[in-house]
């Protein structure tokens, strides 16, 4: 049977109270052990899944950074004591679905606390300096060795773009927020629903130059859901369901390929470009065919660079593109008509489903006051810092 899946490599660490090894050391030993056992390398892997019940954030990506960053899809999963088995299933489904022919599943847990942390830990008050973690820090380095705060990181992503390309400054970034706040006035699901003038935005509290408060996503609660069916199943459903169905023409997940700058500053550009290019190829659709885009504007600086990363504007032309209001809802390619994360809000787990909700609702012609008339094709983009990027291209049912 061609559906068979095989294990060709496996390894495990001794189970101990590993007081002198951090969780990455354990993850790497098992991962490299399994690759060695199979006689393959990370370059052969087309998907990876990492199961840990307690490691937060994007732990799997931290493992990739130690053993090989090739840009492949990566799942961080948990399911109580079946966490490792769920990682195995994630890889197995990717292979069975024909998305990958080889993948790595890792399960790992650091249950004992008294071993070296690998992430930055807060400084203890009134202490004697002692090096901690993989960088041997003796005090909290935030504000001493630059910033790792989100609004600062994305601010630097923006000024990097401004350095490389002309016509981009504080005002261009602020215009992104002006647009998104204007858009959300039509969206009752949005957290904010009032317009902000450009002046108001530029004179608001500066979080980290050039991102002011209204250029940054707020903290809010929310949820979004979608029901997916196969093409075969769809044919068996009611005509009304078929008529409102929205096709997922492309679904791509990428992680960071190695880049020398990525260890000092997260690179949100390359993995977005990779995801977008593959999505356009999968769907047989180009940026010029899009009727609307929901992209990951956690900060105004992020939205601007993604105009270029998603090929929405001319190369290097993101500043000029926002200046001529191209991404406004009445412009040439509406971006974030929901209000985007800046104004609609960004309840983290919900975000990557909420953007499908938004685009699907427009493609169905059911977006009410904020409807983009005649929308037939849309793109969604989301980035989880660490990083992982997912791009979908959606099309409305041919009617």
């Amino acid at each position: 049977m061609s559906d068979d899946i095989w294990i060709i490599g496996t390894a495990m660490t001794p189970i101990r109270r590993h007081l002198d090894r951090d969780v990455l050391d354990l993850a790497v030993e098992a991962s490299l052990g399994a690759l060695d056992d199979a006689g393959v390398t990370m370059r052969d892997m087309q998907v990876m899944a990492v199961g840990s019940q307690f490691e937060p954030f994007t732990f799997g990506q931290d493992v990739q950074k130690q053993i090989g960053q090739t840009g492949i899809p990566l799942y961080n999963v948990h399911n109580a004591c079946a966490t490792g088995a769920t990682a195995v299933r994630s890889v197995l489904m990717e292979i069975r679905a024909g998305e990958a022919d080889m993948g790595l599943a890792l399960g790992v847990e650091k249950m004992t606390g008294s071993s070296p942390p690998y992430r930055m830990t807060p400084p203890k008050a009134g202490k004697v300096f002692e090096p901690e973690g993989r960088d041997g820090h003796v005090l909290a380095t935030e504000g001493v060795l630059g910033t790792g705060q989100m609004f600062g990181v994305f601010a630097q992503t923006g000024t990097d773009y401004a350095r490389r390309h002309g016509g981009v400054g504080f005002e261009q970034f602020a215009k992104v927020a002006e647009k998104n706040h204007a858009h959300s006035t039509l969206n009752q699901l949005a957290q904010y629903q009032r317009p902000y003038s450009l002046d108001e935005i530029m004179n608001a509290e500066m979080l980290a130059y050039p991102n002011t408060l209204p250029m940054s996503c707020p903290t809010g609660d929310g949820a979004a859901a979608v029901v997916l069916v196969s093409d075969a199943k769809l044919r068996s459903l009611d005509p009304d369901v078929r008529r409102r169905a929205v096709k997922i023409s492309a679904a791509v997940m990428t992680t960071d390929p190695y880049d020398p700058s990525g260890f000092a500053h997260p690179d949100v550009n390359t993995l977005t470009r990779n995801a977008a290019d593959r999505a356009y190829e999968q769907a047989g659709i180009g940026p010029e065919d899009l009727d609307l885009v929901e992209l990951h504007d956690c900060f105004a600086t992020a939205e601007l660079v993604h105009y270029d990363n998603l090929r929405l504007c001319a190369p290097g032309g993101a500043g000029e593109w926002i200046d001529r209001r191209a991404p406004w809802r009445d412009g040439e390619l509406p971006v974030n008509v929901s209000g985007g994360l800046i104004s609609k809000g960004h309840p983290i787990g919900a975000t990557g489903v909420a953007n499908l909700y938004e685009v699907a609702t427009h493609l169905r012609g059911e977006a009410g006051d904020r409807q983009i008339e005649g929308a037939r094709v849309g793109l969604t983009h989301v980035i989880g810092l660490g990083s992982v990027c997912v791009v979908h291209i959606l099309e409305r049912a041919a009617s």
Binding site: I67, P131, H137, V144, L145, G146, T157, G158, A208, Y209
Partner: protein
């Protein structure tokens, strides 16, 4: 004499002029600052110590206001591309925390300063970058 320790172990302060030290992949030459298991670029598993250059260029910056440590105040965070292509994040020091004061065109040079003192009186030595104006004010 006051005892000193670097704020992070990739800053070397006891072997000639203060400098940054990295781990260079024996296979592909990728350079990393922190302790490593294997190479993210090529998968190789052995590294050699390497001394990094003191000068570089600013790639990006921000001026952090919210959440800045109280004793530091608003500060300029920069991503620096060192002369050998290694990237490092740090503060831009000796420059006011104003957008207009940050100039991509001027090269920067590593400097060190005391960033704190512990209960034993040991000083933590931090590094930052500052404009390297004496040597090349008009370069680039």
């Amino acid at each position: 004499m006051t005892r000193q320790m670097p704020v992070v172990d990739y800053l070397v302060i006891d072997d000639g002029p203060p400098h940054l030290a990295g781990h260079r992949c024996d296979e592909c030459g990728a350079v990393y600052l922190e302790r490593r298991n294997a190479c993210a670029a090529c998968g190789a598993r052995t590294f050699s110590p390497t001394r990094l250059p003191a000068t570089g260029r600013i790639e990006s910056f921000t001026i952090v206001h919210r959440g800045a440590p109280k004793h530091v105040g608003p500060f300029v965070s920069v991503l620096v591309r060192l002369a050998d292509g290694t990237f490092v994040k740090a503060n831009l020091v000796g420059v006011p925390p104003e957008a207009d004061a940050v100039d991509f065109g001027v090269p920067v040079r590593l400097v060190t300063y005391a960033a704190g003192t512990d209960d034993d009186g040991t000083e933590a030595i931090a590094f930052g970058f500052t404009y390297d104006e004496p040597t090349a004010p008009a370069e680039g």
